[in-house]
Symmetry: C2
């Protein structure tokens, strides 16, 4: 028996998120079906980031156990033959049998992209959130700075979750505008709450639009109340960039 | 009667190109239908660049004549309400009645994007051409340099066209690789032949892959024969960036 780790990129536009659910097709289900077909064993992957419906990924992580003789490094190529073009496994490698992608220490990186101009651009519509009003990037950067560090992020967590410990550590939170009028919010951290990055994005958009003062982000954290923060920004602007594990590959 | 100029952005993935044809839906047809519905007159636009099936645009140009009282600058907003999200008119303004988007002097800019890495990325699949083998950007830049200037581009023109004069002027042709492993070929010129940018891209890809020497691009031009150049690169990598007209707006 071996445990194999996959790095999975996907365009989330046509999926009901990562996690298997009765109402629609998910990334997890697509991977389980493709792996089961390829390896001739019933495979159930364990994912690192259970991304929402419509969220994209360049490097989500999943593991599964297998008896196959296919070398772990070759599995990704064979697997991609069985996956549609909107899911591409970027890498496969063996990891220790006790490696669990959500229980190990890891650093996750997300990017939220906002197209900030007067009219939408069709070629960016699936991968950015279009926002018409002028956003002040400097204010967004200032607001973002208060989020860095170990804080209780209860205000930045969907009320649709029952998690008790809402303390998380944000390692960095940067805001940049490209010459193509795309504002990118990049957040890295050791763990995230349900909808946390999208609520951070929604709050920083409110800061950029002048509806929330940059310094108020500090108070929003202190309130520990979802209603204190800004709205949850739409899914299509969010991409999980990747996950770094320390000392896990065999 | 007024002549109105539109700047049109679109995701070409779901269209059979610009020009009206019996076999499928085109950008031109979508614009004609939306304008006819909006203005209550039968409208037929004249386009500047008749892009192929699958080619995208940030700023193609079209004109039409109308008796409407809607201010020309407002037409784009009203029109976008009647267009699907993969076509967005970026601007509308009045131009002289004799302004013809293909007969005036103009400078057109195109970008061909190649995703050059070992595995495809789902979120870029519609807007780049995935190429697996390592491309040498320096060689591509050297090859590109021979194309700049006024040349007979017969070798870079599809044989499916009957055009007689194949002399065109390329104002610039640059090749750059981004940190996201996307190689962008940008070409500007005062006129282009059928498939010219895609054949330039296909030829520079062959140069980057080592199949054609950079200096051979000069010889390819001199041969005046389509078969001397590289293949026609796939449509989805091509985006029409925009068109600059000199002294046309009223």
């Amino acid at each position: 028996m071996r445990r194999v780790k996959l790095v999975v990129a996907y365009d989330g536009s046509n999926y009901c998120g990562w996690q298997i659910q009765p109402s629609g097709i998910t990334i997890e289900e697509m991977l389980n079906n493709a792996l089961t077909g390829l390896l001739g064993e019933e495979i159930k992957v364990i994912g690192a980031s259970r991304t929402d419906s419509g969220v994209h990924s360049l490097g989500n992580v999943a593991v599964f156990d297998t008896m196959t003789r296919i070398p772990p490094g070759k599995i990704c190529y064979a697997l991609n033959q069985r996956l549609p073009e909107d899911i591409v496994v970027q890498d496969s490698c063996e990891v220790p049998l006790d490696f669990h992608p959500r229980r190990c220490y890891s650093e996750k990186a997300y990017e939220y992209r906002i197209l900030n101009r007067k009219l939408p651009l069709p070629t960016l519509r699936r991968y950015t959130y279009f926002y018409y009003r002028d956003l002040n990037v400097k204010k967004m950067q200032q607001g973002a700075s208060y989020l860095v560090g170990r804080h209780d992020f209860k205000s930045f967590c969907s009320v649709k979750t029952a998690v008790e410990d809402t303390v998380r550590e944000v390692l960095s939170c940067t805001v940049e505008k490209s010459k193509e009028e795309v504002i990118s919010i990049r957040v890295t951290g050791t763990g995230f709450l349900y909808n946390m990055v999208r609520i951070i994005a929604g709050t920083l958009i409110s800061v950029g639009a002048g509806e929330i003062q940059p310094e108020a982000v500090k108070e929003i954290l202190e309130k520990r109340e979802r209603s204190a923060a800004g709205p949850t920004a739409p899914a299509q602007g969010l991409t999980m960039l990747g996950i770094t594990y320390v000392k896990t590959e065999k």
